[in-house]
């Protein structure tokens, strides 16, 4: 049985050792190498937090606008309707029927509820908010959508074997092995990428608005302009109509193209069917007017609509480097993030440090093992050699198990392997010391070995279990690299129980029963 387990372990271990496996092996048997942690192969680990509160806010904002329109359509008069933080405050007109608002809400806005309703001097003021269930729903959806979107973006970025996992209620863990340009990756992930199209208000005065008299239904948005000659960027205000005509959701695709004129990169976007129809209508209605293209709250450009544009294609231009254009196309294709994302934690390891760590780890393991092997052989003579054999087996099975379970090997994980070497011999030390004692006490070789093994078993079990308990806590409470340590230590300890008792016992038994030795070299 021991041989069987050993073979199985070697099976799993082989792919990590050689790259030239015969083809039939690759197809039918396992071909996974030992999975290296980020600290060994280099890469980035990010912990992101989705700002779910903002997601609720923006949904509320949209609902506020919808409510306004619905009330107006139903000719229910109100004096004021605006969103204040997490509530919508509606001031009804004098004499307006009190229940009208309620009816509208019941019929069109089942997610809203009336938190509060006061009537002062004949005017009713109602405070509305989302039902708690809805709030929870929005938050959950925001995280799910963010997860999807980030996954899409990373897929297109081209990282091999990325990992994107949700954690807790509003966190996402992103692991990008082998990433070289961390800044670009972070930018790509964190960009909200909210694309909006709004009309420029050319009827009212921009200056007046800047002084504070913003016409109703308008808003001021800033854009940044890069002076082609000096290369400096300055902030330019635009007076836009508030209503968003189109958003990035209407996009079907986005591609990077290079313009013939200046060799500049730009992004060519294509609307989906509905979006194309809308776009055609909007451009037809507003020929000669300017439409602002807004990205993440900043006006990107505001070209003049020359004519009705059918076919739903448009361009986003403006001094991009090719990388910037590529990234913009990626985020437009993958979609906007429903809520902003904050980076809570970042750990990046460069590939050179990773390789260094692997080298050091391998050396430590080899030298540590060698020292222990020599020591055991010297101190316990041939029995020590038997223990050494068990130790080597231990290491092989340990590594094989790591590959088989697809566990991740990290720097502390290598320390765990080295520590296992030290601790695995402990079991043998216990057994051998016991055997020596029994021999000193006058027992025959057979009896001494028997007694040694059986007496030591309980002790070894206890001590290994406690180390396992400690490793378990480490696994529970630790982060990535520390988890790797807990894993290698645990596996190592369990395997050492097997090798210490089973394997060395077999060796002893062989010599005692088959070779019938009278004296024990211990």
């Amino acid at each position: 049985m021991a041989a069987a387990i050993c073979l199985v372990a070697i099976f799993y271990l082989l792919p990590s050792l050689t790259d030239n496996l015969p083809s039939f092996w690759k197809e039918h048997l396992t071909k996974e190498k030992i999975h290296l942690g980020l600290d060994l192969q280099g890469g980035t680990h990010l912990v992101l937090e989705v700002d779910t509160d903002k997601a609720v806010e923006s949904t509320l904002e949209r609902t506020t606008n919808n409510l306004k329109e619905t009330l107006m359509e139903n000719k229910i008069r109100f004096r004021n309707l605006e969103r204040k933080k997490g509530n919508i405050v509606v001031e009804m007109q004098e004499g307006a029927p009190g229940s009208a608002l309620e009816n509208i809400i019941k019929e069109h806005f089942p997610d809203l509820e009336i938190a509060n309703s006061e009537t002062t001097a004949g005017k009713e003021t109602a405070t509305l908010r989302f039902k708690i269930k809805r709030v929870a729903e929005i938050k959950k959806l925001a995280v799910e959508q963010s997860l999807e979107t980030i996954r899409n973006r990373i897929d297109q970025f081209g990282v091999s074997e990325p990992e994107i996992i949700p954690e807790g209620i509003d966190r996402i863990i992103v692991q990008l092995p082998g990433v070289k340009d961390t800044a670009r990756a972070k930018n790509l992930i964190g960009k909200t990428a909210m694309l909006e199209f709004k009309l420029v208000d050319e009827e009212h005065s921009l200056d007046e608005a800047l002084k504070g008299n913003i016409p109703e239904g308008d808003t001021i948005v800033y854009g940044s302009n890069q002076d082609r000659e000096t290369g400096r960027r300055n902030s330019v205000p635009y007076l836009l109509k508030n209503k968003t005509l189109l958003t990035g959701e209407s996009l079907e695709s986005a591609q990077v193209k290079i313009s013939d004129r200046f060799g500049e990169s730009y992004v060519s976007i294509k609307f989906n069917q509905q979006g194309a129809a809308d776009f055609e209508r909007i451009t037809a209605e507003n020929v000669k007017k300017r439409m602002a293209i807004i990205l993440d709250g900043t006006v990107h450009s505001a070209p003049v609509i020359q004519e009705r544009i059918a076919g739903g294609q448009a361009q986003i231009t403006g001094s991009f480097t090719i990388d910037e254009a590529k990234d913009l196309a990626i985020v437009l294709r993958a979609g906007a993030l429903p809520a902003p994302v904050n980076i809570l934690e970042e750990r990046t390891v460069g590939p050179s440090l990773g390789q260094d760590s692997i080298d050091k780890g391998v050396w430590s393991t080899i030298i540590g093992a060698l020292l222990v092997i020599v020591f055991m052989a010297v101190y316990y003579n041939l029995s020590g050699v038997a223990a050494d054999g068990a130790l080597l087996l231990n290491i092989i099975i340990l590594l094989g198990a790591l590959a088989a379970f697809r566990a991740t090997l990290t720097i502390p994980g290598i320390a765990g392997i080295v520590l296992t070497i030290g601790m695995a011999v402990d079991a043998n030390v216990l057994i051998f010391e016991r055997i020596r004692e029994e021999l000193r006490g006058g027992k025959t070789v057979r009896a001494a070995v028997e007694a040694g093994y059986s007496r030591a078993f309980a002790t070894v079990l206890d001590s290994h279990v406690t180390t396992l308990i400690a490793a378990l806590f480490l696994f529970q409470f630790g982060t990535g690299p520390v988890k790797g340590f807990a894993v290698t230590l645990s596996i190592g300890i369990v395997v050492s129980l097997f090798t210490a008792f089973y394997v060395t016992r077999i060796i002893f038994d062989y010599f005692i029963w088959n070779k019938k030795i009278q004296k024990l070299s211990i």
Binding site: G422, M423, L468, A470
Partner: protein, 302 residues
């Protein structure tokens, strides 16, 4: 080969008072060190902050690096030098914008030393939220494992052994932290991993001795417990020293060859192996003895 050939007969129990005194002194030194240093040297894992490890192609000095960082108001960062070309910069701030402080640091270094003249080997940024999280988790892990060990030993042996064991553990952890503080080493997640390992290992030792005591107590019900304990410790001395030795060898290898990340980890393990073995013999068992003198064990009457 045998280190301990003849049956030793060291009176461990007799020197109980001396040992307790020694331990208390060491603990006081540890606590004093922590207080004197104004708390532990929390790494960014717990305090939050940014860490950047840079390797320059040409050797440079800490002063020059500090001057460069002054330009972006990071002149107060902790700068550690690993080699003439390799430095670690640590600062408690972590910028709020997505680009992050590390990008700013890179930019300034680019301006000062020239682009491409250095390589960023490692970046770690821990926001304050995560820092708090990790601190909590670490403390819980250590406390829970103490409790778990106590329960396990109480179950396998007797409650008094559990108490002896856990006192030894607490003693070990305090002294290890004291060693950390004395040498002003950084307290990071890997250190917590080392502490937990020591907890697991130290209890190991304690169990071996307690197991022998248990066996001997069963054999010789009437003898004075003190004598039994002494005998047990003497009997297991060989094994105790040996296993500590093998672990010690292995940790020394890690200490010298393991690389920067493992270095501090190995340091704590070294201290822990010593202290753990010491505490199993000189702390855990005397407590059992004292307990016994106050209320005799039921185990002996079997």
């Amino acid at each position: 080969m045998e280190i301990i050939k003849k049956k030793t007969n060291i009176d461990f129990v007799g020197s109980m008072k001396l040992n307790f005194a020694l331990s208390i002194i060491t603990i006081i030194i540890s606590v004093a060190s922590v207080i004197w240093h104004g708390g532990l040297n929390y790494g960014i894992d717990f305090a939050g902050g940014t860490l950047v490890q840079v390797k320059f192609q040409q050797a440079t000095t800490t002063e020059k690096l500090r001057q460069t960082l002054d330009a972006i108001k990071l002149g107060n960062s902790v700068i550690q030098q690993f080699s003439p070309q390799e430095f670690v910069i640590r600062t408690p701030e972590s910028a709020n914008d997505l680009k992050g402080l590390s990008a700013h640091i890179e930019e300034t270094l680019n301006n000062s030393y020239g682009k491409g003249s250095f390589e960023v080997r490692r970046v770690e940024v821990v926001g304050p939220k995560v820092g708090k999280d990790l601190t909590q988790k670490a403390i819980l892990a250590v406390v829970f494992s103490w409790v778990a060990m106590l329960l396990y030993i109480a179950w396998r042996f007797e409650f008094r052994y559990g108490v002896g064991g856990i006192v030894a553990l607490i003693h070990d952890v305090i002294i290890c932290i004291g060693a950390l503080s004395l040498f002003n080493k950084e307290f990071s997640l890997t250190i917590v991993a080392a502490l937990l390992t020591i907890i697991g290992y130290s209890i190991n030792d304690t169990i071996v001795v307690c197991d022998r005591i248990r066996e001997n107590v069963r054999k010789s019900g009437k003898k004075d417990l003190g004598e039994v304990i002494n005998a047990s410790i003497n009997e297991t001395l060989s094994r105790t020293i040996l296993s500590s030795l093998t672990v010690f060898i292995v940790v020394v290898v890690l200490f010298f060859l393991g690389g920067e990340v493992i270095h501090d980890f190995a340091f704590i393990l070294l201290v822990g192996v010593f202290v753990g073995t010491y505490s199993s013999i000189f702390i855990a068992t005397p407590i059992v003895l004292v307990w016994e003198r106050i209320s005799p064990s039921k185990m002996r009457r079997r």
